[in-house]
Symmetry: C2
């Protein structure tokens, strides 16, 4: 095999490895932040906070490597789309890392207080978005357009759980003002998981484009639920 | 002048125009969402919601055009960095549009209730992040690395205002449970403006890289303030 071609393929493989590694780290951050939250594990939460920097560093590595690849290899068609997708997806993964870190920070703050409401909602949400994140990146790496479409359409249940948590926290706030601070943090935590789900959807959309060059329809089957809640709903 | 060169420059100019247009639309969305919020202008808020789609469409146009440019022109060095930057920045602007739409949606929900706290905080925050957004895109388009650095370092006041609003809303919640729903939306609105500021910082960072190829330091002078608040602070 031609040596240049071989090393070009090696380059593409390296880029795939970088994305896989970034995705793996982010998945773990999402899982651990949720675990730290529901188990009141301050130590683990602290680890999650400190483990965000390597994800940021990987994003920069992906960026620099993509620029190198584009400059030296002048890739075409599918390879070009994959590189563009890697650039965009690394940005999404970096944001996911930020949200997980934010969950961990808030988990530390409220660790001294009793857990408001059921832990199930948070665990489900975290598991779903972690799964969507994993699947969206798998879809990219395995060039599985069908899986990408599935993830892209799978965001609605996450939004439903988020809405449930949002309402539950409002109830806790109204029942006892001493719950207000913790419930507020819990709402923002739920919002963080919802945003992580959003970014997983973005990744799936980008992966789909990378695989077959076709862009998914404008309207995703998702809505910003809490902003769509009528204001009377919670105070009723 | 060589025709190919001329049309290559035309392509780059077109890409700059697309980014300028996207940035301009997003700026207006940020300004109008804040205006709709503080003036209780439901009609304007509705317009902001409906004006998000053109920004999303422009993001897709930027993506497609960048892929075309990379495939057909095989740009090098500064041009290549600019194209990569455009890809990343369009993603940031698209998110900013989402946040502005979310502000507008929440503004509609709480429009029937009296404004909690002072409007000044929100107006300042919105103006600051709108300014940072404008400056970060100007920095890219004018290749002004110094301006990019200035925006990159300018995010701290936004965070301070956000923290102030967050505390104020907690106080309103504790004073009267009937404020809880509206105060919660106000907190999320403030958080949206803070995130818009974050993305403006990202844009500045990317612009800086596009201009001189150098990456800004790992740690930005910004922190997620509400997650850093001790839990006792608000309940004290």
């Amino acid at each position: 095999m031609d040596r240049t071609v071989k090393s070009y393929e090696g380059d593409l493989r390296h880029l795939r490895d970088l994305i896989a590694r970034m995705g793996g780290l982010a998945e773990r951050q999402v899982a651990d932040s949720a675990y730290a939250l529901v188990r009141r594990d301050v130590e683990l939460a602290g680890e999650v906070v400190s483990r965000d920097a390597p994800i940021d560093a990987l994003e920069r590595e992906v960026d620099a490597f993509c620029v190198r690849l584009l400059a030296l290899r002048q890739p075409m068609a599918g390879d070009l789309r994959f590189i563009i997708a890697a650039l965009k997806i690394s940005q999404d993964i970096e944001r996911i890392g930020d949200y997980a870190r934010n969950v961990a920070k808030r988990a530390i703050i409220i660790s001294g207080q009793p857990f408001l409401g059921g832990v199930n909602g948070f665990q489900w949400m975290a598991q779903m978005v972690q799964r969507n994140l994993k699947d969206s990146i798998d879809a990219l790496l395995r060039e599985d357009a069908e899986l990408a479409e599935r993830v892209w359409a799978a965001d609605a249940p996450v939004d439903d759980i988020y809405t449930g948590i949002f309402r539950e926290m409002l109830t806790h706030m109204m029942e006892d003002p001493r719950n207000i601070t913790a419930a507020t943090h819990m709402m923002f935590i739920a919002k963080n998981f919802e945003r992580i789900g959003d970014h997983a959807t973005n990744i799936a959309e980008t992966a789909h484009y990378a695989i077959n060059g076709a862009i998914l329809p404008d309207e995703r089957p998702k809505a910003d639920i809490s902003a769509d809640l009528p204001s009377t709903q919670a105070t009723a």
